[in-house]
Amino acid sequence: MIRSKAMAIAIKDIREVFSSVSIYGPMIGVPLFFAVALPVLTIYVALHAAPGIASRIASTAIPSTSASNINSLSFMYFFAINVLGPIFLTIPIFTASVIAADSFAGEKERKTSENLLAAPITNRQLLSGKILASLISTILLTFAVFGIYGGTVNLLAFKEFGVYILPTATWLMMLAAAPLLALAAIAIVVFVSAHVKGIKEAQQISTLLVLPILLIPFISILGIANLDVAFFEYVIAILVVVDALIFYASVKDFKKERILY
């Protein structure tokens, strides 16, 4: 017996997402592929082209090593955290927006919202259920992908340089920012899907959130900011405020009629 109505909605929505391979296939398959492929490409570049590049980009502290190919390791270290990390931070945004858009706009599109809204559930239970569905799936997938990408990086780094690169404090801070990014994407979808007609519009608008994330590697490469713990403390603090504001606006704006037709 599931006692919480919000949890019943969340479980139904998660089952709905995972009932269609066209939704969950690309959502899981692509990040998993990149979680392995990008570290492999990185080590390849690190070994063959990095010594020249590393001296220009790596002022970052690296673990002590007796390896002679110090520039390759510097590159691998820098790239694995400062470039791959932000790239993988787009996963919670994409995943959350796909699931949340399907969850809200999908009810409208499949005309299942009437039975749902006629049930004795409050707006808060409905919103909580829908948000939980997106958040649980997104966090699980993001952590799994970060785990695989971290594992692959470590495996390759240990094989080539005899050291483990991950986790670092910065990398863990990135991971901590992931649920907040997911929440921001979900809140935007909640807000947008109440105003647009279809799933696609809601999804497209919320994925615009990836743009600032994709700027992070360039900020780091160009030396505008150091991607250290302090940087991600600011990012997390900003995300908490942004999440709170968007959520407040979405919940205040939410009218159940809007997801009817």
Binding site: A8, S20, P120
Partner: protein, 300 residues
């Protein structure tokens, strides 16, 4: 409580389009039909009663509370939409469990109740089937089962027999009579006059968002048969001359259908008797078409 549903000057618009206009209605126990053509506002009115839409103005109470604002009162109401709206990817069982959980019903009780209702609707064998694989008529039965799972006091149904065959429709009607006999309030929306007149019940006719007639089956017949034209289908055709010989108020149309003018419903019996006395075998009498014409074709 004398009335389960009360509407006071209820208005509902969608942008500039008027959907429900100044509706005043009190609905008590038993079956009430809301009859109207497409776009008359009957489904919008039902959705307001179900708490899906908030009226723009006026007051609407169901069992003493506003169904839009009060989730608790929706525990005692059920709604069956016209677009069946169940989850295709779930089995019938999982759909029932999902909705039962929203109504706070234990899983075991939900399954037992579902099986009992589905058995009565001759659909219990579909319990483990995916809803998406079922026919439209079967989905309609599953939806009715969903609508009854919370043992509601007020049952709101939007065209519940629209996709059912004759025998299943009759099953549903019997079911609804049973509900009415138990003292429940059943509101049934339809655009089909023949369906509305199958219930010996109150009928509210809606047009352009307003209730234009509040009557019952007998009242509808009394009013509609005042100077109208009915169609009589014969089992075996008779000649045009034979029809003309029967009186000025009858004519033979294409396909062997006799059109007859009647002043009131008593005339129907008289005309049929005349036809039978002259060797005609009656297959059916169709009053629906002229009734629709009279009900919806103006006169409001």
């Amino acid at each position: 409580m004398k009335y389960a549903i009360s509407l006071f000057d209820v208005n509902k618009n969608f942008g500039k389009q008027r959907a429900v206009y100044k509706v005043n209605l009190r609905i008590g126990k038993g079956i009430t039909l809301i009859l109207g053509p497409n776009g008359a506002g009957k489904s919008t009115l039902l959705r307001c009663m179900a708490g899906l839409y908030k009226p723009d103005s006026g007051r609407l109470d169901v069992l003493g509370s506003d169904p839009y604002e009060s989730a608790d009162i929706r525990n005692r109401i059920s709604f069956m939409p016209d677009n069946y709206g169940l989850y295709d990817f779930l089995s019938v069982r999982d759909n029932m469990l999902f909705f039962a959980r929203l109504y706070g019903i234990e899983d075991k009780e939900a399954i037992a109740k579902s099986l009992k209702i589905l058995k009565m609707l001759d659909a219990a064998h579909y319990i483990n089937a995916k809803v998406g694989q079922l026919s439209r008529g079967t989905k309609q039965k599953i939806l009715l089962c969903k609508a009854l799972i919370n043992d509601p006091e007020v049952i709101l149904l939007d065209e519940p027999t629209a996709f059912l065959d004759a025998s299943s429709s009759e099953q549903v009607r019997r079911f609804l009579y049973g509900m009415a006999d138990e003292g429940k309030c059943v509101v049934f929306v339809t655009q089909r006059v023949d369906e509305a007149t199958r219930f010996n019940s109150r009928i509210c006719v809606i047009k352009n968002g307003s209730i234009i007639r509040d009557t019952d089956t007998k009242g509808l017949y009394d009013e509609i048969f005042k100077g109208t034209r009915i169609s009589i289908r014969l089992a075996r055709p008779i000649s045009k001359n034979a029809v003309l010989a029967l009186g000025k108020n009858m004519s033979l149309e294409h396909g062997g259908i006799i059109k007859a003018d009647v002043k009131n419903y008593k005339d129907v019996n008289a005309i049929l008797k005349t036809l039978m006395d002259n060797g005609a075998y009656i297959a059916s009498v169709d009053y629906a078409e002229p009734m629709i014409e009279k009900l919806y074709g103006g006169n409001d």
